[in-house]
C-alpha cells in the first residue's frame, strides 16, 4: 500500500480502523485471526462432542500397552510383548532405513541416467528417455506393486534350491528367493560388545561398539586421505607437478581397516537352507526390496530430469573451454560441468528426497512395516485411537521432512558459498 496516510484532524474515530491505511492491516489481521480461531474452536468442539459420544477420552496411555503383533523386518530387537510405542519406534527406524537406502540409490541412478540421457550415443539417450518417461508417467504405487509381483513370481522358491533347480550365487553365499534375498552376515569373534542406549525404555537400542569402532576408524582414515589430497593440491599449485598419491590414499583407507577387521576376528555367517527356508545370514524381505527398488527407480527418473536440466543450464562455453584446455570429455563432466550444475540441481533434489521419504509410506501396500504400517496401521486398528495415532503419524513425518529440508538447505547454502 503505497499511499500517504490521511492526516486526520481531530481525535481517533472508529471508522479509521477500516479506512485509514495505518490501522487497516491490523484490523484485517485481527478479524482473520478471530475467524480462524472460531473455525478451529468449532472443529475442536465437534471433536470433543464426537469423542464423548464414542466414549473415547483422548489419551496417550495406549502407547504403553503391549502391542501383541509381530514385525518381521526390523533393525532393533522387538517382540509382540513390547509396547505400541516400541512398535512405532521400530516402524520409524524402518521408514528411515528405506528412505536413506532409497535416497542413496536414487541419487546414483538418477545422476547416471541424467548424464547418459545427454550422451552422444543415440541409442543410449533414447533408452534413458524411455526409462524416464515410463517411470514418471505411471503412479509410484503401481510400480511398487509391479516390482513386488516380479519378485514373488519370477524368483525361485526356497524349495527350488533343495532340488537343484536354483543355486546360490557367489560361492554359496547369496540366495535370491521369492521371499527376499539372503546375504551373509558379518560376525566378530573378538567383538567389542554393545552398549544399551535409553535403558529399558521403549526407545532402547543396542549400539554395537564393534561397528562404532569400524565407523570411527573409517572416519579417521578418510580424514587423513583428504589431508593427503589437500597436500597434493598444494604442491601442484606451488610447483605445477602433482605427486602421485593414489597408493598412499588407498593404503591409508585399506590397511588400518584390514588390521582392525583381523583383530576383531571378522567372519561371515552364511545363509543355509534348513527345512523349507533359509536360516542364518541377513534376510532382506521382498517387501523391503520391492519398496526400495521401486522408490529408487521412480525417484531416480525425476532426479535424472533435474540433473539434465542442471547440466543444460551450464553454458556450452564451459564445455568448449574445457575441451580447449585439453580435458577429456569424462573429466570435463565430472570436474567442470557437474560441480557447476550442482547449484541448479540441489533444490529440486531436496524436494525429490522429501517425496521419496513421503512415498515410503506406501510400504503399507506391500506389507513392509514402516511407521505407517505400525502406528497408522495395526496400532490404529487394535486400539481404535484414530485421533492420537494419526496425529502422531503426521507429526513424525513432519519432523522427518523438516529435518531433511533443514539439512539439505544447510548443504545448499554451503555449496553456494564455496562456489561464489
Amino acid at each position: 500500500m503505497a499511499s500517504i496516510p490521511d492526516q486526520g484532524t481531530g481525535g481517533f474515530r472508529v471508522s479509521q480502523l477500516l479506512y485509514d491505511t495505518r490501522y487497516r492491516s491490523t484490523t484485517i489481521q485481527i478479524i482473520a485471526l478471530i475467524l480462524i480461531l472460531l473455525g478451529i474452536g468449532w472443529l475442536i468442539n465437534n471433536t470433543i462432542q464426537n469423542l464423548d459420544a464414542l466414549g473415547k477420552e483422548p489419551s496417550l496411555k495406549f502407547f504403553g500397552e503391549p502391542a501383541s503383533y509381530d514385525i518381521n523386518q526390523r533393525l532393533v530387537e522387538y517382540s509382540s510383548r513390547d509396547t505400541h510405542l516400541r512398535a512405532s519406534f521400530v516402524g520409524l527406524l524402518n521408514t528411515l532405513l528405506v528412505a536413506v537406502l532409497g535416497c542413496i540409490t536414487a541419487t546414483i541412478v538418477g545422476v547416471f541416467v541424467g548424464v547418459l540421457r545427454l550422451s552422444n550415443n543415440w541409442l543410449i539417450a533414447r533408452l534413458m528417455t524411455v526409462y524416464i518417461e515410463a517411470f514418471r508417467n505411471v503412479p509410484v504405487l503401481v510400480w511398487i506393486l509391479i516390482v513386488f509381483s516380479v519378485m514373488i513370481e519370477t524368483m525361485p522358491k526356497p524349495s527350488a534350491f533343495r532340488n537343484g533347480e536354483a543355486s546360490m550365487l557367489f560361492n554359496e553365499s547369496l540366495a535370491i528367493t521369492n521371499r527376499g534375498i539372503y546375504t551373509p552376515a558379518p560376525m566378530f569373534e573378538n567383538g567389542l560388545g554393545s552398549i544399551r542406549i535409553f535403558g529399558e525404555s521403549s526407545l532402547r537400542f543396542d549400539l554395537s561398539l564393534t561397528f562404532l569402532a569400524i565407523a570411527a576408524l573409517f572416519g579417521v582414515c578418510f580424514f587423513i586421505s583428504r589431508k593427503i589430497k589437500q597436500r597434493a593440491d598444494r604442491i601442484q599449485n606451488e610447483t605445477g607437478d602433482r605427486p602421485t598419491t593414489w597408493y598412499l590414499r588407498l593404503g591409508v583407507l585399506v590397511v588400518p581397516m584390514a588390521i582392525l577387521l583381523w583383530v576383531l576376528g571378522l567372519g561371515w555367517n552364511f545363509p543355509e537352507l534348513k527345512g523349507f527356508n533359509f536360516k542364518e545370514g541377513i534376510h532382506l524381505r521382498n517387501s523391503l526390496l520391492a519398496l526400495w527398488i521401486a522408490l529408487s527407480l521412480y525417484t531416480a527418473a525425476f532426479i535424472a530430469e533435474a540433473v539434465r536440466a542442471g547440466i543444460m543450464a551450464i553454458s556450452k562455453g564451459q564445455t568448449e573451454a574445457a575441451y580447449a584446455l585439453g580435458i577429456q570429455p569424462g573429466r570435463t563432466m565430472s570436474l567442470v560441468i557437474l560441480p557447476q550444475a550442482l547449484r541448479v540441481i540441489i533444490p529440486p533434489l531436496i524436494s525429490q528426497y522429501l517425496n521419496l521419504t513421503k512415498n515410503s509410506s506406501l510400504a503399507i501396500a506391500v506389507g513392509y512395516m514402516d511407521i505407517t504400517g505400525t502406528l497408522g496401521g495395526i496400532t490404529l486398528n487394535q486400539t481404535g485411537r484414530e485421533l492420537e495415532t494419526i496425529l502422531f503419524l503426521m507429526l513424525t513425518y513432519l519432523a522427518i521432512s523438516l529435518s531433511i529440508s533443514a539439512v539439505m538447505n544447510w548443504y545448499n547454502n554451503r555449496v553456494k558459498l564455496v562456489e561464489r
Binding site: 552422444n120 508417467n137 505411471v138 503401481v142 513421503k358 501396500a365 484414530e386
Partner: protein, 433 residues
C-alpha cells in the same frame, strides 16, 4: 612479369564427402559407434533391448483375446504356440476393461460419465486455447457443478443451489462495495456463500425439488470406480484447489504477519506429510471433526482432503508465478491508484496464472497419479479393482495383463499432459521476451 601464378585462378570442382560420414553409415558412425567406449555401450544397449524384447514379445502376441477364464486362455496359447509357452491372458482385458474404466457404475448410465468427459474438453478449450470465444468461459465455470451432477445424479436443484451461494456472494459484494467499502464487501464475498452452504443450501434444494422435481437417477458413491474415479477425484481436486491455492499464495506473499504465518504453517504442514496420512484422516477422522451426526460420503471426504493437499502444492506453484512477475507490474498497478483487490484481480493474477499454467498441469499430473492411493483406504480405483478382478475365480492370479493395462492408460494420460505442458512452456517462454 612471368605468367606464373601462385594462386589458383579457377575453383576446384566440389567433391563428394567421404562415404563414411554421410548417409546411414555416417549417421551410425557419428551417433552409435564413435569411439570404442561408445561402441561397447551401443552393443550392450542392443543386447539389453534384445533380451527384454525376447522376454516380452512372445508373451504379448498370443491369441488369447477370446478366452473366458485362465484355463481357456492357457489352452488357446498352447494351441497356437505349443505346450509350455508363457503367454498373456488377454481375455481378462476383453471382459473387464469396461469395469477398469467405470467401476461398478450402472451400465445403462455410462453415457453420463462419457458425456461429462466430452464436455470437459469443451470447458477446457477456452482456458487452453486463446482463439476460442471468451463467452465459453461461463460454461467452464459451470462445468464442475454440471460434472458432479452428471456423475452422481439426483436433483438438479442441488448444484443450482450451490451456484446460488456464489451468486449471493457476488450480489452482496456489488451491493456493499459502494456504501461500505472494499474490505467489508470482500469479507461478504467470502463469508456469505459459506454461510449459505452451511445453513440454507440443502434446505433450498429440497424445497425447490419439492415444487419442481427435475433430476436424473442418483448413483451412490460405492458404485464409482476405475479410471472414472481417478479422473473425478483428480479433476474436482484440482478445480477446487485452484481458488484455495490462489488465496494461500497471496496470503503467503502478503505483509500481514498473522495471515502469512497461518498460510505458511498450513502449506508447510500439508507438504510435510504424505498424502496417505491425509487419506487416513478422510477415512477415519473427518467425520469426528464435523458436527455430531454428520456422516458424509467417503468420496466427498477424500475429495476434501485431496483438495487441501493439492491446494498447498498449488499455492507454491502460484507463488512461483507471482515471484516471476516483474516488480514494475505491482508498481504500475499502485500508480494507477488501484487498491489491492483490484490490482490483484485485474493486473497481477491474470499474468501470474498464465505463467503458472505449466506448473498447474504438473500438479494435476501428480495429483492424478496420486489418486491410486485411495485403493489403500478401500476405494475401487484401478489398483483396487485389480484385487476385485483377481477375486473372481476365472481370473485369479493374473497380474501383468491388468498392471499393463493400468500402466498404459496412466501413461497415455500423463504423457499427453506433460507434453502439452512442455509445449505451453515453450510458447509462454517466447511470449515473454
Amino acid at each position: 612479369m612471368a605468367d606464373t601464378s601462385y594462386v589458383r585462378t579457377e575453383m576446384l570442382p566440389e567433391q563428394a564427402p567421404p562415404p563414411s560420414t554421410i548417409g546411414l553409415i555416417g549417421w551410425f558412425r557419428q551417433n552409435l559407434f564413435n569411439g570404442w567406449a561408445n561402441s561397447i555401450l551401443t552393443l550392450l544397449a542392443l543386447y539389453f533391448i534384445y533380451v527384454v524384447l525376447k522376454a516380452i514379445v512372445p508373451w504379448i502376441f498370443v491369441p488369447s483375446w477370446s478366452g473366458n477364464d485362465v484355463h481357456e486362455c492357457r489352452a488357446l496359447v498352447a494351441a497356437a504356440w505349443g505346450e509350455g509357452h508363457h503367454g498373456a491372458c488377454w481375455g481378462v482385458i476383453r471382459e473387464r476393461w469396461v469395469q477398469l474404466l467405470f467401476g461398478f457404475y450402472p451400465k445403462e448410465l455410462y453415457w453420463r460419465p462419457i458425456l461429462a468427459f466430452i464436455l470437459l474438453f469443451v470447458a477446457l478449450a477456452p482456458i487452453l486455447f486463446a482463439s476460442v470465444p471468451r463467452k465459453l468461459l461461463i460454461f467452464s465455470a459451470i462445468f464442475p457443478f454440471l460434472m458432479v451432477w452428471l456423475l452422481w445424479g439426483g436433483t438438479l436443484w442441488l448444484p443450482i443451489s450451490v451456484i446460488l451461494g456464489f451468486v449471493i456472494g457476488w450480489v452482496l459484494f456489488k451491493a456493499t462495495l459502494e456504501h461500505a467499502g472494499a474490505l467489508i464487501a470482500n469479507l461478504l464475498l467470502i463469508l456469505a456463500p459459506i454461510i449459505w452452504w452451511l445453513t440454507a443450501c440443502g434446505g433450498f434444494a429440497n424445497l425447490m425439488h419439492g415444487i419442481i422435481p427435475i433430476g436424473i437417477e442418483p448413483v451412490e458413491s460405492a458404485k464409482f470406480g476405475g479410471f472414472m474415479l481417478s479422473i473425478t477425484i483428480g479433476l474436482v481436486g484440482i478445480a477446487l484447489s485452484l481458488p484455495l491455492g490462489i488465496l494461500l499464495a497471496l496470503g503467503r506473499q502478503s505483509d500481514l504477519i498473522i495471515l502469512k504465518a497461518v498460510c505458511v504453517g498450513f502449506i508447510e504442514f500439508i507438504r510435510g506429510v504424505p498424502l496417505i496420512t491425509l487419506l487416513f484422516v478422510a477415512s477415519t477422522l473427518l467425520n469426528i471433526f464435523m458436527p455430531p451426526g454428520t456422516n458424509f460420503d467417503i468420496i466427498l471426504r477424500v475429495i476434501i482432503m485431496v483438495t487441501l493437499f493439492a491446494s498447498a502444492y498449488m499455492a507454491e506453484v502460484i507463488r512461483g508465478g507471482l515471484a516471476a512477475l516483474p516488480k514494475g507490474q505491482y508498481e504500475a498497478a499502485d500508480s494507477l491508484g488501484l487498491d489491492y483487490a483490484q490490482a490483484t484481480r485485474l493486473i497481477i493474477m491474470p499474468q501470474a496464472l498464465k505463467i503458472s499454467i505449466p506448473g498447474i498441469v504438473g500438479t494435476f499430473i501428480g495429483l492424478f497419479k496420486d489418486t491410486v492411493l485411495v485403493s489403500i483406504i478401500g476405494l475401487l480405483d484401478p489398483v483396487g479393482l485389480k484385487q476385485t478382478i483377481n477375486g473372481d475365480v476365472a481370473w485369479t492370479g493374473l497380474n501383468w495383463e491388468i498392471y499393463g493395462f493400468i500402466c498404459l492408460i496412466f501413461f497415455i494420460f500423463c504423457f499427453g499432459m506433460s507434453r502439452y505442458s512442455m509445449y505451453l512452456e515453450r510458447k509462454l517462454a517466447t511470449g515473454h521476451h
